[in-house]
Point group: C2
DNA sequence: GTGAAAGCGCTAACAG
DNA sequence: CTGTTAGCGCTTTCAC
């Protein structure tokens, strides 16, 4: 079915050892003539060495495992994914992938799948930190691990995250400086995780610092693949109760999009009646009825760094763990009510 | 580093053959007591058989390869992907993934990567049918292949697509019946491919059938990861030239979103000044300033069927190829100007 | 400069 | 009922 090294060897009239040497540029010298023949045959037969065999032999599979929550939940994860993929490909690494849908059980099943495939490292956006704690702690001893975006505070593994406290702080402060005193936080449908906790912290921190008492957290249903809809419903019922808020900090752009629609349908205007700031700087932002002010994360950098750190462990055997925390950035559009020109 | 069958065997005080038998429920009977011991040890050690070794041995890797254009280009591909992933997981299959970004060269490189990993089958959304024709024709003899969404008319492989001629026909006809006589087609930034060609055909077919002479195809730049922006720019310059059209059929929702924004910024109203129909029924549709009328494709079914057909070939050795063509459906919202209640 | 042979982890045929 | 062994495709000593 597949062409093997044997086929190449017999076709070229040499031993498999020689074929292997030629194809791997073995320091062992091979006669120029032999080399050419082998190369030609390998090319004609379009031979690709089996990574299964190579992996078995070398105890290195040149594959990385990824566990993501979902790809339909906005482009945040997708962008990180593409960066990972590109960087992996540059290093001749393959990607084996699974989506957890934010379910801790599914996540464990996926990890086991990756273990069976003997990936050289795993990049994980964990769903519910806390639940799989012991599991990952054990796993870490078996294979290099890096957590992206979210993490287990108790596990001292590599991780690359965004400073979410700061991001939320900036967002909230921005609204405060615009004169808002009644700012609500619109929560997302993600299971509890560090990135969201940190954003909530940042929200409170900003309010504290500016001596604002008013706090309000609007909860949404937890369905990661229907964030917009869940947020839409939550906002609709919240506004229906005639709550007096003048601004909203949404924990991500997806829920902001749902909220925007709800506000609009209730006959209110953004940013005049309610100002809105999102998080993630989704590519949809500029195309919304009211372009969305948001907090940008360095998505591509996160993905690229995840691979770099993993390969560092795999190849250079680094054992001390690294925690990289990237800076978020405020992107001003119209939904917050600021004049973009003032700050850009 | 990893726990192997040997570790389990020695720990349990049996041979590796016995461990293998127990773990694979070999018809060979194993003493109940031995079985229990092995199971316990395997569990304690959290042993996972190496798929590398199993794959080598059985010439079946239980992995499927996927090649997709991109994940940030709207949720169309993502939704298909999730369906594939779910169905694969149900059959204990893993997914090895690569994005081609619509580049034919990259696509070939990715195929080679999948070949090296000895995947049991490949699911491909090809980027530029025509370019890699001979390549795929050869590949097909090596490994089961299925094309999704787009395909090579010349290659008689399995494929699952949507009836795009019909989808475009329905969309265009819908606009015609709403009284429009000057309907433009807004093209997408995808490289030329069957799905888009078919939609263009459907557009012309509807116009032909209703004896409408006016035709206009608005081209956009070809950047798959910036579809909205490319469409936005194309529309802006098109409208700037004072063209007289009353409706637009956009080849996908992404470009429709970009167009919507351009129309809006030009001071025109949807659907009053320009009616708009998209394609794909992206989840963003209901959240746009003017909820988007669109043509829905059976994305989940496409993904699921792709896996099913592939496994059919892998396990049941089917050799006749199957072409599945799913029916599209019109989803009426507000952007077309129809009263949803009329048709729902 | 090249070939023969061992062995990575596993399954399956063959003994016992 | 269980152990021994060959071999999947490849790399890597060790001989010649």
């Amino acid at each position: 079915m597949w062409v093997t090294i044997k086929n190449v060897a017999s076709e070229a009239g040499v031993s498999i050892a020689t074929v292997s040497r030629v194809l791997n540029n073995d320091p062992h010298r091979v006669a120029q003539k032999t080399r050419e023949i082998v190369l030609k045959v390998a090319k004609d037969l379009d031979f690709r060495p089996s990574k299964l065999a190579v992996g078995l032999r070398s105890t290195r599979s040149t594959a990385l495992g990824l566990i993501f929550p979902s790809f339909v939940a906005g482009t945040f994860y997708s962008e990180i994914f593409h960066a990972i993929e590109d960087e992996a490909a540059r290093n001749k690494y393959g990607i084996i992938l699974g989506s957890s849908y934010g379910e801790a059980n599914k996540e464990r099943l996926l990890v086991d799948l990756l273990r069976e495939r003997r990936v050289d490292g795993m990049i994980i956006i964990p769903s519910s930190p806390g639940v799989n704690f012991i599991y990952y702690q054990r796993l870490q001893k078996e294979v290099p691990l890096i957590f992206v975006d979210r993490y287990f505070p108790q596990i001292d593994s590599d991780r690359v995250t965004t400073d979410n406290v700061k991001g939320a702080y900036i967002a909230t402060e921005h609204l405060i400086k615009l004169g808002h005193k009644r700012i609500a936080l619109l929560s997302g449908p993600e299971a509890p995780c560090t990135s969201i906790y940190d954003r909530i912290d940042g929200y409170h921190k900003a309010l504290d610092e500016y001596n604002i008492q008013f706090r309000k957290i609007i909860e949404t249903k937890k369905d990661i693949n229907k964030q917009k809809e869940c947020a839409y419903k939550a906002m609709k019922s919240f506004l229906g109760n005639g709550s007096e808020i003048s601004a909203i900090f949404a924990v991500n752009d997806n829920v902001a999009i749902g909220a925007l629609r709800a506000i609009w349908e209730m006959g209110l205007r953004v940013p005049d009646d309610i100002a809105l700031v999102g998080y993630d700087d989704d590519e949809m932002g500029p195309f919304l009825p009211i372009p969305l002010t948001s907090i940008a994360q360095q998505k591509a950098t996160m993905g690229k760094l995840a691979v770099t750190l993993l390969l560092e462990r795999i190849y250079r055997g680094r054992f001390t763990s690294r925690h990289i925390c990237l800076k978020p950035q405020l992107v001003i559009r119209s939904s917050c009510g600021a004049r973009p020109s003032l700050s850009q």
